[in-house]
């Protein structure tokens, strides 16, 4: 799993690639915690290069969504496709997270 964070004014884009699962999700958690700690209000998570996700990976993204929403911000997921998109559809989360999918 790799990630890139890019800040542009109030907007933050977080690009995640590779595998986000029970092994790698703990590595991403501090990055997401930092976004919340900084009260970033407009966050786009780009998952176009994400190859595989499991329930642990979904859990950290849902946690981010809830925490940002709690202080009035928004999280958009974009680029979901293939296996990650199938997981989000199964969990009916594709309707919760707005954003353009691949």
């Amino acid at each position: 799993m790799g990630y890139t964070r890019t800040d542009d004014g109030d907007d933050t884009t977080l690009t995640i690639d590779g595998t986000l699962d029970a092994v790698t999700a703990p590595e991403l958690r501090p990055v997401l915690d930092a976004l919340v700690a900084e009260n970033r209000k407009k966050i786009v998570v780009d998952l176009a290069s994400l190859r595989l996700i499991d329930s642990s990976g979904v859990g950290v993204l849902v946690s981010l969504f809830k925490r940002v929403r709690a202080y009035g911000g928004e999280v958009n997921l974009v680029g979901l496709r293939d296996q990650p998109l199938a997981i989000f559809k199964l969990l009916r989360l594709d309707r919760v997270f707005p954003g353009k999918q691949a």
Partner: protein, 170 residues
């Protein structure tokens, strides 16, 4: 390929060994699943007749292309969750045991099933005791829901050893 063909793997019951298990199951989906086929007519043909470019197939498995194929995608998603459960919960606080994986298939190229048996000696985890679907915004407890959603059947026999069988039909 025949219905007696099996792929066996034994790995320590810890998350760091999941990737190798996922890769093997991904390759097994190709070899034993609907595209690999297990009908006698296919088995009797030369490999070159079944697949005009076997090298490309081999490369596709290693490139992770199996995650685009719906059958493999479903199987690997469910298998990943099953392995997580055993490694994270089954062996938690216990001496690390193994997770033995057996993959086999039955049927023809057009109709059949893939069976994946995971055998462990950890705590009993009976999927039938956990049936609730996730709420609108779940952060945990989704693994079993994902397994049920992607599989046609989920069987559990409490041990020791415990045996969890994932069944995916085509």
């Amino acid at each position: 390929m025949s219905s007696s063909d099996r792929i066996l793997l034994s790995v320590p019951g810890a998350l760091e060994f999941r990737d190798v298990a996922v890769r093997v199951v991904g390759a097994a989906c190709k070899l034993l699943g609907p595209r690999g086929g297990s009908s006698p007519d296919l088995a009797e043909r030369e490999p070159s007749a079944r697949d005009p470019n076997p090298g490309a197939e081999h490369a596709a498995v290693h490139a992770g292309a199996e995650l685009v194929d719906p059958f493999s995608m479903a199987v690997l998603s469910a298998f990943s969750e099953a392995f997580n459960n055993l490694a994270l919960h089954g062996y938690r606080g216990m001496p690390r045991g193994t997770i033995d994986v057996e993959v086999r298939s039955e049927g023809t190229r057009h109709e059949g099933a893939l069976y994946i048996r995971l055998t462990d000696t950890g705590r009993v985890f009976d999927p039938s005791q956990y049936v609730e679907p996730p709420d609108e915004l779940p952060e945990r407890g989704m693994g079993l829901f994902i397994m049920r959603g992607f599989l046609d059947e989920l069987r559990y026999e409490a041990g020791p050893p415990n045996v969890l069988t994932l069944v995916k039909r085509w």
